[in-house]
Symmetry: D2
Subunit: 328 residues, 4 copies
């Protein structure tokens, strides 16, 4: 069944620590955060960052997560271990640093496989530029493609998903939006590649998330969906539906129709303002359930389809309002 798995960002669960650990001094460990996440009703999965969260033997780490009643949805690379990564991972000007980034990613793929997760998310936020005249774009693109290809070919049984983002930490990312990422995937040409759509990233790339998801579906594979929200200017990390409720509903309906079967991952930042992460996660799950139920009502007859066949934005707005907004 589609859209029944919910995953979450584990680092959120260090937020408001006194609510869960009245006596904790210092920061909670990764596994303590996982224990806390496991108390969120409805949560089924977690994503782990690599290498940060896999400090032990990967299979062991995976088993511990499973013992908490959670599955590992996948791993996600983080290129922070070497300060030299600040100037690029796969596109770093220094060949040895590029090698280090690629080799670390391969170890991450191995770790994912050892946990039975078979999904590695690459967010290549360091591969970009800050200044005009800083980068030879031709060379940088070639390096990016070569790096992704080497990682994809390392283990064809592991799906590699590229998560695009317009900026941060660099002022401009090479893989800044949906379509540029699809071009890169085509240049690489490996069958185990796909895309992770992050709702807030899509918004501040200027995209309409449902349209971006459909472009991914028709030309590649949608391998991950990160739900959150924001004001379309930066990666705010707000709760699902906090700002763009209608656009979130449209995205959920679109990916369900296009057959997305992966997890819905909450990439939100309750820790940024010290909110209760368990309540936050449960509210996100509840919001998705509410919206899926609205989508069910929209799908129950063909009125919306008829309005769309005329591109009648007034009729579709009215139909969606009736299904979405509560009456007295």
């Amino acid at each position: 069944m589609t859209l029944s798995r919910f995953a979450t960002r584990l680092n959120s669960f260090g937020s408001a620590p006194h609510l869960f650990w009245p006596d904790l001094s210092g920061k909670p460990t990764f596994m303590q955060m996982a224990e806390r996440a496991a108390t969120a009703k409805g949560l089924t999965d977690v994503d782990l960052n690599f290498p940060d969260h896999v400090t032990d033997d990967a299979a062991t780490v995976g088993r511990r997560i499973n013992d908490l009643g959670l599955s590992v949805n996948g791993l996600a690379m983080r290129y922070y271990t070497n300060p030299a990564f600040k100037l690029g991972a796969f596109t770093n000007p220094d060949k040895s640093v590029r090698r280090e980034a690629i080799d670390m990613t391969k170890r991450g793929v191995d770790a994912a496989r050892a946990m039975g997760a078979d999904l590695m998310t690459l967010w290549l936020g360091q591969d970009g530029f800050d200044y005009n005249f800083q980068l030879d774009y031709a060379e940088a693109w070639d390096l990016e493609i070569d790096g992704i290809r080497e990682v994809a070919e390392h283990d064809p049984a592991c799906q590699i998903s590229i998560e695009y983002k317009p900026d941060e930490p660099r002022a401009h990312a090479l893989l800044r939006d949906c379509a540029t990422t699809l071009l890169a995937i085509q240049d690489v040409g490996a069958p185990n590649l796909g895309v992770t759509l992050d709702f807030a990233h899509a918004l501040y790339a200027g995209e309409q998330p449902a349209y971006a998801a459909h472009l991914i579906h028709r030309r590649s594979k949608l391998l991950g969906v990160h739900l959150n929200d924001g004001y379309a200017k930066r990666d705010d990390g707000l709760m699902v539906g906090a700002v763009h409720l209608r656009s979130t509903l449209e995205l959920l309906r679109q990916i369900r129709r296009d057959g997305y079967e992966g997890a819905l991952y909450f990439d939100t930042f309750p820790d940024a303002s010290g909110l209760d992460p368990v309540a936050e996660c449960e509210t996100n799950i509840e919001t998705v359930h509410r919206l899926l139920s609205v989508a069910d009502r929209l799908d129950a007859d063909n009125r919306l389809g008829e309005a769309q066949s005329r591109q009648d934005g007034v009729a579709s707005q009215s139909i969606v309002n009736a299904a979405l907004i509560a009456s007295a």
Copy 2:
């Protein structure tokens, strides 16, 4: 009773003319558009542009509108009659053009009063700049203040409301946001000045509309509210709640609490894509009624107030979701 008057942009009602005038050739007249607007259920008021819509004796025009069952909420200045206005109305470098703009505005005030409307909205979109080094900012600010003052003092019984907007037609408007407009109003120092908040303008000025409305309320007067929606990048003119449903709800609740008693004016552009303007207007009215009913539910107990007293964004989101999103 607050928030029971609905006004609309008359020029929208030239959209999809064949639906209302099967045999019309050419463009509908202003009064034909008013006749069509009058068929929108729930609409109570219109705003007229000056001088465009007041081509006859003002009292006569007002009476014709009243005969359609509509009130004139107010007039709104448009500075397009002289091509020289492109470089500024009150801040035009040419003294005689400034004089023409100010005098035309005074005639607009007289016309509003002759219709019994007592409200003139100034959108000073021509007063700004396109280029660095184009404007002496000190001089331009002084001219803007002087122009507003002369208009305000012309008839103290007519409320003058300044509608701010970040850009368009100029790349930068002098009165670009809520707070700059409040500074200008203070510099003028006339008691009959206030502010019109346009939802889409506030969004793409980077503001949160409810916060902007409250700042206006506490330092000046909220004299007009333009409802619409957009993607926070430009003046999209979309239907109420089309994108930012929650933010619209928050704004409606805020202005109701702050005692706003004016009309809710739909500044939307169904004509931009040829939508049915009557259906569009009726959908907007229905959306506002739905949201006011949600606001009633939020105000029925103090749970939201308690969540706000802790700035608990998770709890407030959950409380609003329960009141806003329909269940099966």
Copy 3:
């Protein structure tokens, strides 16, 4: 020789009419505007809008332009003749309107060829959506591809260039950015397709123009370059280098290195604020000459290349500053 042809937007030349036509009453004709454009020193080409500017036999119109000492760089489609185009040209929900748009475009291609221009620019700004739930994205994409294909196959000897733009008149265009346009071109699969990069469009799509130009170069063909500037929020139509001087310099250097041999077209709006269009055009040409001379200095040795090989943004900034900023 590259970058020696300068084209311009003819409609600009109706601005400040009294400077050129002291006695003109009413609007200047298209050919009067062309006569005025021909007085701009250094201008070599014009682009004509179709059908607006080709009201006579195409070959005759072309000859008249040539008689003014100007070449026709190409034609550009404008879908305003039928109000139904507001809801889409190639993606219009009404089959007969789609047919009208495609057929009109083919006639435009024929007209371009009759003038010996062999370049048709398509800006498909009407093909998009305003609202969530307004469009079936799958169907709309298919229609867009089919329409472009039919036009491209109509005359393989005419280059068809797609000019992307994030929005306007629709709130979201289907072909909103460089990479989405490249995906569409690939889906069409016709050899006579390419892309027009408009500097201001690229900026407010969030792109770095030089990077976008290089992506176009490596996967398709750069068939047009529109120079102008703006504040990266909307299509401001400002003079070349008015805001992003360094980024403009980088773009010029990039396309020269990638072998662009087409015209540089000034897509600016002096008419929006009533500026002198001849002086504006000549200033644009002079700015480009200044910047190309800076690019020559940058290319005279390999210091910039060495800085880029280390992605050393400080060194490259310092090198460019020395070549760009005048000393006492």
Copy 4:
């Protein structure tokens, strides 16, 4: 003499540590970073963060900075010591947390005075909101005003400068732009208050920096100028003139004309991508010198003033180009 003092962000000087400390293991101390900053030719001042950088007796810290040949321009508050500050400093919902923030700020003022700096910069980035319905705006504004007033009245001989920023860490700051900050300053009503304009903050608040600086000058005091650059979407922290060269030039000329006598502080992030901070700082100083020399040329005759008196953007662009862009 105006605009001859250059200050810098000390934390930048931990970037690329191997260039300065070949044998350093671990992070450099604050005083080590100051020693390195002191090697930047032309640098005269530093700003210290409070409490982070003042871990010793304030007078002693000040003396050590002076011994390096640098002056302390001022202190800047940072509200990170208590995780509870994430939900607000002066506007925190918890009265005891507000008290802690205010008292810490007073100690910061005392420390500034003990160093003879007499300038405290408040960046109240934690005072804001992330969600609709999270904040009671009326109450939050009152708390903000009360907090600023108490701090300003603590020592009237210390200038208190408010640095506005649209967001970060909160999704919306209360004091988001120039004009809102001026309203707050007026509500407080203390004579020792003023504003710090940060170039990149102004850009992504949608402002034109020179216009914002002039509004500050005429209604309050410009107490600090942070130079940097960015793409007008977030706080990129790029080098001076990296993107908006012309706008930087305009700002420098405006503040010089308005009599600004404070330091020019480089709020840039070379550490974000591991650039050489000494070369970066020296390049910034050199860029400012280059631009001030351009401004001198613009001020040498009245051609620019004449162009501005007609708001002739073409002429002013041409005049500035001739002074700004190097010829062969």
